[in-house]
Subunit: 273 residues, 2 copies
């Protein structure tokens, strides 16, 4: 999708700090305009009413000018015509965790879903944590087996919200041993970059391309473009995967990665004099 160069995505690996420094949530709040922010929390991923209320209260406590909560549970609700206009003023949209298939199944192509995309195009920051992170990309991981030998069988993919192209995101990455499923995803099309985000860690994407790592963990980037060989087309679903020459970067806070140029930027260190 075309996008405003000022647009930002904040893609969070789940379990972000909500009671201490709140580095990640405060970055979202700040990008949304800080005290002038008009934030909408969308908790469609979850059936637990507490999930969205928690974020509403956090952003209200931060001092946002306006915070609304949409706990939409059906396509009927998501298709109410008033969403076409009511989203125009939003400066920040926050997608909670839960099940990414609820996000796309309920919001995908709906009036609300389209309004959300239009807000992003107009410069609103869109954040998602856990399931909300996975749902951001054009193709998303719906689910998969943790701590598994990589094979085609261990993952399922589906069309996502389409806010981010050429990327498949996985979350709770180190904590749930998910490199196997992310490798299986990129084996299907090594042009796609795999982005595995640890808990309490996020990437802030500016202009759809440059990712800055924030938070306390690491982000794994898997770039299969130079892969010389895989057995994905001829292997049976349960057969273990073979995939060679994948480039892997592990990045922590302060590092940047350009998804278009596929290049890491290293933070500048102040030299001791």
């Amino acid at each position: 999708m075309s996008r405003n160069e000022k647009s930002h995505l904040v893609i969070i690996g789940g379990a972000e700090d909500k009671s201490g420094e709140c580095e990640i949530l405060k970055r979202f709040f700040s990008l949304a305009g800080g005290r002038k922010a008009d934030i909408c929390v969308i908790s469609t991923a979850s059936t637990n009413p507490e999930t969205g209320a928690q974020y509403r209260d956090i952003f209200t406590d931060f001092g946002a000018a306006n915070v609304s909560l949409l706990a939409i549970q059906s396509r009927e609700e998501a298709n109410q015509p008033h969403y076409r206009s009511s989203f125009a003023e939003k400066t920040g949209i926050f997608l909670t965790g839960g099940d990414q298939l609820r996000i796309t199944g309920i919001l995908g192509g709906s009036v609300l879903g389209q309004a959300m995309q239009e807000s992003y195009r107009q410069g609103a920051v869109v954040a998602g944590t856990s399931a909300g992170a996975s749902a951001m990309s054009t193709t998303m991981l719906v689910g998969g087996v943790d701590e598994a030998t990589p094979s085609k069988e261990i993952i399922r993919m589906a069309p996502g919200l389409g806010l981010l192209s050429d990327v498949v995101v996985d979350q709770h990455f180190a904590q749930r041993g998910r490199i196997g499923r992310l490798l299986a995803a990129i084996a299907h099309n090594p042009y796609i970059q795999g982005v595995g985000i640890d808990e309490d860690t996020a990437i802030v994407i500016s202009g759809g391309s440059v990712c800055e790592v924030i938070g306390t963990g690491t982000v794994a980037i898997l770039d299969g473009r130079q892969s010389r060989h895989s057995n994905v087309s001829e292997s049976s679903p349960r057969q273990p995967l073979a995939l060679t020459d994948v480039k892997l970067h592990i990045l922590c806070k302060g590092y940047r990665y350009d998804l278009q140029k596929r290049l890491v930027s290293i933070p500048q260190v102040k030299e001791d004099i």
Copy 2:
């Protein structure tokens, strides 16, 4: 160490099949000479007497000419002078799972430890599973945190048995989410290759260099030699790791990897005519 070109190592990721096809254990048995094999099972890694007895019974059932079991639990036992000569006829040595620090702490530099290395130099096949796999290399992973954001703090390393150079082995690799600890290991010296072996999977190394993958899972090869940057020297122990441009291969049965040339060999597929 110098080695016989005919020498073989069988490095097993743990939990290998012991009741079905027994592909991995049968490969070891075959390399040790099959029905002519004179095998010694060393269960020093484990304090459970069942551990070694199980392998002794398996190799006996396979039909080996001679199978002995050494459940050595102290350096005093390992230093008995008769081991100097009694190992000369062995064609296969099998190191069980347990704790790799028991293997090196009890056998390292002992009469038995030296006899074992001499047997390998003379052409005996040495196999190790789980802890026995980790102990093979010059520097080994003693332990580490599974499913963790990679940092210096999550691993401990120590000198291993030295049968394999320039490699750090990790086992139960996909099943315990261990990519973080293997990445942390190679960040310490990216010249080292990280080899992560899944359960019921093994590499058979011929002449100290060419690894063939066998079994039902995958082997991950992490080659950090072309890494352009890491923060390992300046980061604090708990700080997350950054490490860029690591080459990653995921290989399954039939694939080969040359540790010296750092090259993958792809199995030849029979074309349909």
